[in-house]
Symmetry: C2
Subunit: 569 residues, 2 copies
């Protein structure tokens, strides 16, 4: 393609309402434009990226025995009534009525639709397993759409649904998809992790999120420096940290005036914060008091605390009066001396501590030589803290690292949730009717594109991985009005195309500086520059966008060099 014929209106200015890197760069690099709140049009460059991601997805879905179908976007309300989700989905579902007044929605997902499709046709175990997928626009009426493609109201999704005869079959399908997703994001050139995840509104037992690592990511991720383990900050499992062997000394109450924070008491008593015990007092929306104790340098994981209060939906900080009525003293709390019946959660690491410092439930006083296993009495012990960098991996024990990530895909074991509600059954070898056992597997295509930009960018613009770049190589004559440069550049462009390289010829009669800026902003992996040196000294410049490295090759050797460089980009 020739840049003079390419519709790619790049922007020098950063658009005002774009908050994230990917949103800003997708607008500036002419990948997309805003059409309305939370609705975007892809321009030719952006659509090429989407096309390449879709091709990779399609190839891996097909290789994993997925069969492509296409269901309608408009879905009749009846099937959502049948599954029970019509009322559950709430305002996020885009709803409409047709001219006859019948209810429809714009599919946010297709579990109901696919179950309805196969329940009329899949009758025998011989037809299983069955894996059907589509790549299609989905709709979600976000309360506050933002971050460009990260949270838009219409978005492209690949959704595959698996149907198996039993749990074991479902697990095979799940693993197939897990492996396919790993291949897809690897082929896209992304640094990512499959992360153990909650199942949320989709339901089912087991789920993984595929998360692209990026500093700007929406969620915190703990991942192992040695093995494959990764989990969201809230979901990460923690092993209790063993304390050094020490002899237990006698519990001693000491005066610690004005030390109502961990930092102050550690400072006052000249002990490291790792030797102190921190208390946090919560009140549930049901009015129950929950006191949580973690090591002084740790943070409470509220999600895990909530799992211990199943009737509660929300935690707020408890008020002083509430704490006092339980026998506690705000700022100087410990489990020692509280009234009976108070809910006390103690992190397992705390239980291993020796001769620690904790509150004495009395203003301006702490205990030293606290040995929880000896002194705490009846408490609930568990994993109640947030993971922190350096924690041991629950799988292999190596150090965990912390990062942030962007969810680009999620896989779910659904089981029989939908097949039972919608009576999608098959007959097994014995002629017995059984519900289909399902899984579902989504990839946000536009989100993958945005995540790639969040992961790979610098102050000049996007840095595309080769596999999903709008073009792999851009050929730039430094001065397009110079006949010799133009001719040589055009020849090189032709040769690259003939060699199967996805190349763009920047034949625009612009100044070199303008073209180079566009190249960096749009982020082509490799730039071939044809200037005076190329014409006079047979020195063709190759510039690697990612490393900034510039190398020279001659007319005879440049193609091999281009291939060599592209292979690792």
């Amino acid at each position: 393609m020739r840049a003079s014929k390419l519709y790619a209106p790049t922007l020098r200015e950063t658009p005002a309402d774009a908050e994230t890197i990917s949103h800003r760069l997708m607008l500036r690099a002419a990948m997309m434009r805003k059409a309305a709140n939370g609705l975007y049009s892809f321009l030719p460059l952006g659509w090429r990226v989407i096309g390449k991601i879709e091709k990779i997805i399609r190839e891996e879905m097909n290789a994993a025995d997925g069969q492509e179908v296409m269901m309608p976007i408009m879905q009749p309300g009846e099937i959502w009534q049948e599954s029970g989700r019509w009322s559950v989905y709430g305002q996020e579902m885009m709803r409409l009525k047709d001219r006859h007044g019948n209810d429809y929605c714009l599919g946010p997902t297709h579990e109901e639709m696919i179950t309805d499709l196969v329940r009329h046709e899949v009758r025998s175990y011989k037809q299983l397993p069955l894996l059907l997928y589509q790549i299609q626009d989905k709709f979600r009426d976000e309360r506050r759409p933002r971050f460009g493609l990260m949270r838009s109201r219409e978005f492209i999704m690949k959704d595959l649904y698996s149907f198996d005869r039993d749990e074991a079959g479902m697990k095979v399908s799940y693993q197939k998809m897990y492996d396919a997703y790993t291949k897809i994001f690897t082929r896209c050139g992304l640094d990512f992790r499959p992360v153990e995840a909650d199942t949320g509104a989709i339901g089912g037992a087991t789920s993984h999120e595929f998360t692209v690592l990026a500093k700007s990511g929406e969620s915190a991720i703990a991942y192992c420096s040695a093995c494959d383990y990764a989990a969201s900050e809230e979901k990460a499992e923690l092993r209790p940290i063993a304390a050094p062997e020490e002899e237990m000394l006698p519990l001693t109450k000491v005066a610690t005036p004005g030390t109502s924070t961990i930092e102050k008491v550690a400072d006052y008593l000249k002990v490291p914060v790792e030797k102190t015990i921190k208390a946090v007092a919560y009140e549930t929306d049901g009015g129950e008091l929950i006191l949580v104790f973690v090591r002084g340098d740790h943070e409470v994981n509220e999600a895990k605390v909530l799992h211990f209060a199943p009737e509660a939906h929300e935690l707020t900080m408890a008020e002083g009066g509430k704490i006092e009525s339980a026998g506690g003293c705000p700022g100087f709390m410990s489990p020692i001396g509280l009234k009976d019946g108070v809910k006390i959660l103690v992190d397992a690491t705390v239980m291993n501590m020796k001769n620690a410092v904790a509150g004495a439930n009395e203003v301006d006083h702490h205990y030293t030589n606290v040995n929880p296993s000896r002194d705490f009495g009846c408490v609930t012990v568990g994993d109640f803290r947030l993971v922190a960098e350096g924690d041991p991996c629950p799988r292999c024990g190596a150090k965990l690292l912390m990062t942030r990530g962007i969810e680009v895909g999620q896989v779910f074991m659904l089981g029989t949730k939908y097949s039972e509600a919608m009576k999608a059954t098959f007959l097994d070898e014995q002629g017995k009717e059984k519900p289909l056992v399902m899984g579902c597997y989504g990839i946000g295509v536009g989100r993958t594109m945005a995540a790639a930009i969040e992961q790979f960018n610098d102050e000049h613009g996007i840095i595309w991985p080769r596999a999903i770049a709008p073009f792999e190589v851009v050929v730039v004559p430094v001065n397009a009005k110079d006949g010799e440069q133009y001719k040589l550049a055009e020849e090189i462009y032709g040769e690259l195309k003939a060699a199967g390289v996805d190349a763009l010829f920047d034949d625009r009669p612009e100044r070199a500086g303008v073209k180079f800026k566009d190249c960096d902003l749009i982020g082509y992996p490799l730039r071939v520059t044809v200037g005076p040196k190329a014409v006079k000294e047979n020195m063709i410049e190759l510039k690697i966008r990612r490393s900034g490295e510039t190398i020279f090759a001659n007319r005879e050797g440049y193609l091999a060099k281009v291939r060599e460089k592209l292979a690792v980009l």
Copy 2:
């Protein structure tokens, strides 16, 4: 692909509510399933066909300098208010409100959206021409969806929009698209005609419909047996037919008892119907009487009559009293002797007639030797009849043939209708602001698929043109349980795949009869049958679906034979 892994539940029974051939066959051959009223899910086989059609469209759009983009399906009401079409579109537009109560529609077409996209960015004549397209689901809330993909509520469309600096540029873009459409439908293997068409709700001056010829088509088409001319029955231009040179004889009134129809009077007077003049009396919805005269064997073209009564929207047959009050006699009418001021339209062919028979405006009487140019007085002469097989082509004079057709694409010269309403302008060389001159060009992708089936089918099922068949070749071991047959068939399948042939291996352990029936129903262009003859006598059977022809080839020569046959299918 292996048929044992392909989700293709064919049906033996014809589904009850499917009215057309393509609708029935798409259901029976497992191409699609109904999801709701006017909404369909494509199954894997059908989706492969759609994919092949889309690929052809994409290649030709790109070759014609089209650039692929993707606009959202959800469109804000504002831009439709701006163009003035929010109120015009009526009930066919699917409308919805978001959670904040804002108006949206599901795009039935994208003129507003694309004009909004480029008006912010196209500023200079240097950026023109610009051709942008997308392939996307469109929505239309049909009052009565039916005929499967022919009139569904959600349908796949390719829509391209051209932007030029002037009328001349628009015509170049129009011709480019006209040529690209010709290539697309030719590559799809379809027998089609570009037909002059009305512009309807989209607007603009000139338009062509691309119409696939099929007996079951929705509209009647006249096309030339010699040149490229084609037009819809209503739009076809007609040259007046010259009558043989004859001397005009004196007008004579004769008694013709009981001859109130053309057939009866021709029979009574022993003249051919081509020597008679037929009268039809209409009343407009405004109450005006319009009398139309055509040759006895011709039919009135009501669309053209309506063009002569611009204030009228509808024509009904006039009542006897109305005719009498104008001086006419129902069943025995002619322009001779009617009261002044009556609107009389005479087809130009009638004006050329000599010594014809017409009514005498008196019960049971006709005139003979009517010579309209001599006898009719003040009448409006024009082209008021429907085209008929055998009429001369308005371009080359050769005979016109009649057929029926299905519209699969339409191209429009829009001019500045949208750019003026939405202020989409550019600056020309002189720095003068001018509105963009637009064209728009649609192809119904699903409709193309359905039209192909309407054109190519027989009592056994679909007969796909090779280019858009779900698979080009199916390899069938007659007895899949016979190890030798299975092995040979599998080898042949592997060789075909390696040779780049899109082949399916029907490895199902079904009876040969069942598999052959499925092959014919689904309509693979070529079947390679591996039975006892293949194993024992080195005779591999090739069956051509279209001709029914069966040929044999040996192991060494079959691949060349397959290639030779596919090339012409």
